[in-house]
């Protein structure tokens, strides 16, 4: 971690992306932030059941990773899925309705906050067992490779997940079978309350992972452009049949691990450093400084997103409650088809 806090991110202009795409990236980051803030508010009001694991502060990782992907590239996500879902193009309507447990929710109210997903957008229902999405993601990549497509699979997971056996087994399969897979480790330095330094024997997760025999990188996950640049190369590798890539994106939660966690276990300097580097603020600044978007264009996006989030809440509230008996359907696919 640098000592002098840099508020600069990688050059926005040098990406070659036009302002439409950059604007869309900004919009998605903002959408994530505002959606999550709204969910938090609703949760504290007692409007939502269960628990929440939020990703404010980690928006750059999700958006920088997903912007190059198509709907038919698949991702796996985790107990903290909202950012990835939004970055991958899911609608706030379908997500918010799910949070309210409604039939119009992306999982018809059966999934909830930890299982958001939508196959139309290539989002496998989020897997809330830490690490378990990794081999599944490798399997998706295997399927895509066998089908001789150019599609790829991307797995999101946290720093804590790398100590799970499933991670180990899954990433190794991607290497030995040279699969079109990308592993995005969101290193926010904590697995729940436990600091990364207590649970792995290397400085970075990339060091720990390189020995599987694949390209690895550690980068500033609050720099959406750094994420984008790195993922872009990984996407090319995957689509060209050159195998998997591992990218460690260092980032930070601006919220607790779940619900009302006050983060009392965090290291103060570390927290101060990271909280001062809000990925949305950094990106906004860069967009304006490099003149890719004007202040007023950005404000327009901000206004739109605010409205969109409000609309999603209104929509969700008005959606249909499931009937109790709806619980009984959807267990098997065959049954639904009458075989």
């Amino acid at each position: 971690m640098a000592n002098a806090v840099s508020m600069k991110i990688s050059s926005v202009r040098e990406t070659g992306l036009d302002s439409n795409v950059l604007g869309e990236m900004f919009r998605r980051m903002l959408r994530i932030r505002q959606y999550e803030d709204a969910v938090n508010f609703l949760f504290l009001q007692g409007k939502l059941a269960g628990t929440i694991h939020q990703c404010q502060g980690q928006e750059a990782v999700a958006v920088g990773s997903c912007i190059e992907l198509g709907d038919d590239d698949y991702i796996t996500t985790t107990h903290r899925p909202a950012g990835h879902c939004i970055a991958k193009g899911m609608t706030l309507h379908s997500m918010m309705a799910e949070m309210f447990g409604k039939l119009e929710g992306c999982c018809q109210g059966k999934g909830g906050s930890m299982h958001l997903g939508d196959m139309d957008k290539g989002v496998i229902p989020a897997i809330a067992i830490v690490g378990a999405g990794v081999p599944i993601s490798s399997g998706v990549a295997l399927g895509f490779k066998m089908q001789k497509t150019k599609k790829l699979a991307m797995a999101f997971f946290g720093d804590g997940a790398v100590n799970e056996g499933a991670f180990h087994e899954g990433i190794n399969l991607a290497v030995v079978w040279k699969l079109p897979a990308i592993f995005i480790c969101e290193n926010n330095f904590y697995g729940a309350s436990t600091h990364i330094s207590k649970v792995i024997g290397t400085e970075t997760i990339a060091e720990r992972t390189q020995s599987y025999g694949l390209p690895v990188e550690t980068l500033d996950g609050n720099d959406v452009i750094a994420v984008y640049n790195s993922v872009k190369k990984a996407v090319e590798r995957a689509r060209n049949g050159e195998g998997p890539t591992f990218i460690e994106c260092q980032t930070y939660r601006r919220t607790g691990h779940s619900r009302s966690d006050p983060n009392k276990y965090r290291i103060q300097e570390e927290e101060a450093y990271w909280l001062s580097r809000d990925p949305i603020v950094l990106f906004r600044k860069a967009l304006i400084e490099e003149k890719m978007l004007s202040e007023s264009e950005i404000v327009a996006i901000e206004t739109e997103v605010t409205k969109e989030v409000e609309a999603s809440i209104e929509y969700a509230r008005a959606c249909t409650d499931p009937q109790p008996e709806d619980a009984l359907i959807g267990v098997y696919s065959d049954a639904e088809e009458g075989n």
Partner: protein, 338 residues
């Protein structure tokens, strides 16, 4: 005597045994990181203050690893208490629990002791299918394990102490809605029963059921949260003149057959209630035991009330429909009494 919640009773039980025997220690994810949670449901909160971080050992997220490590430490002469944050994660350590912990003693020709306590919170709390399961049946089926499921503070303390002193692997199921955890980690729909807990040392031995309410018309056997749902049903049915006897097995393996048979010899009717799934669930064995050994006591077929056979859905409307409630229990009682 002190009034305690189950979470306090478990914590005190662990504390007393850790004081008594320095080979006892806890390991698990986030069990007492300074400033942290004290485990997913605060059972181990603050214990590191007294015992230090060597004996309250925070681990990586590696269920197979830490259950394996607990087995190894037990082999080395320690008495580990290992936990998962949610029972559902036991599947990640399934090989270590079922193929190793449960079998090593036997494979050694009975020579190797595995004094090991495994803790697992169960029950549905509107968190969706992967944080909701009741997993008792899977583990009752494994010869070599002991399985307990305390539902009161008194039993929680007495049984965890018995488990710690046992020389065998013991799996203790704790219900999330019965803990009575406080602060940030309290649960919305929690029942939080508190109860009298003696100050002096005591244990609750395994294999003895508790009769939570006496009655003469019908027996309900229920465990964990369902004990309370059954008591609620019994209360309501009493107003109609139906006297329900409620049995809480507490210890699932070994199981107190006699208490059950004695009760149905009196009531002639049996309803089995649990939060685990119906098919091949814990209750199936209870029904089977009765069908084999005590069927002549009954005046009517047995009836099981259990979670419907679907993964647990998120939306409260559906979750409530899947998990048994007093309403369904009452209907079952009426059915067997017809």
């Amino acid at each position: 005597m002190a009034k305690m919640s189950i979470v306090e009773a478990l914590r005190e039980g662990i504390r007393e045994e850790m004081r008594r025997d320095e080979t006892v220690f806890c390991l698990g994810e986030d069990i007492d990181v300074p400033g942290g949670f004290g485990g997913a449901f605060t059972v181990t909160l603050g214990l590191s203050t007294e015992f230090g971080h060597e004996r309250i050992l925070d681990t990586p997220i590696s269920e197979a690893g830490i259950f394996g490590a607990a087995i190894g430490a037990a082999i080395a002469g320690m008495r580990p208490i290992v936990d998962v944050q949610y029972g559902d994660f036991l599947f990640c350590a399934m090989d270590q629990i079922c193929n190793q912990a449960a079998k090593l003693t036997y494979m050694s020709g009975g020579k190797l002791k595995i004094p090991l306590v495994m803790r697992a919170p169960v029950g549905a709390t509107t968190r969706g299918a992967q944080h909701a399961q009741s997993l008792e049946a899977y583990f009752c089926h494994v010869p070599g394990l002991k399985v307990i499921a305390p539902s009161t503070a008194y039993d929680a303390k007495g049984m965890i102490k018995a488990a710690i002193r046992s020389n065998d692997p013991v799996l203790i199921f704790e219900h999330k809605l019965l803990y009575g955890s406080k602060g940030n980690r309290s649960e919305a729909s929690s029942l939080s029963p508190t109860g009298e807990v003696p100050d002096e040392d005591y244990i609750v031995p395994f294999g003895k059921a508790a009769i939570r309410r006496e009655g003469k018309h019908v027996t309900i056997i229920a465990k964990l949260l369902m004990v309370y749902k059954a008591l609620q049903a019994a209360e309501e049915l009493a107003k109609e003149g139906i006297e329900v006897e409620v049995i809480d097995p507490r210890s699932l393996v070994p199981f107190d057959e006699e208490a059950l048979f004695t009760s149905i010899a009196k009531t002639h009717h049996l309803v089995i209630v649990e939060e685990d799934h119906l098919g091949w669930g814990w209750g199936a064995e209870i029904a089977a035991l009765v069908a084999e050994k005590a069927i002549y006591y009954l005046d009517a077929p047995v009836k099981r009330v259990a979670a419907r056979d679907v993964p647990i859905p998120f939306a409260p409307i559906m979750e409530n429909y899947v998990i048994p409630d007093a309403q369904r229990i009452k209907a079952a009682v009426r059915e067997v009494l017809i």
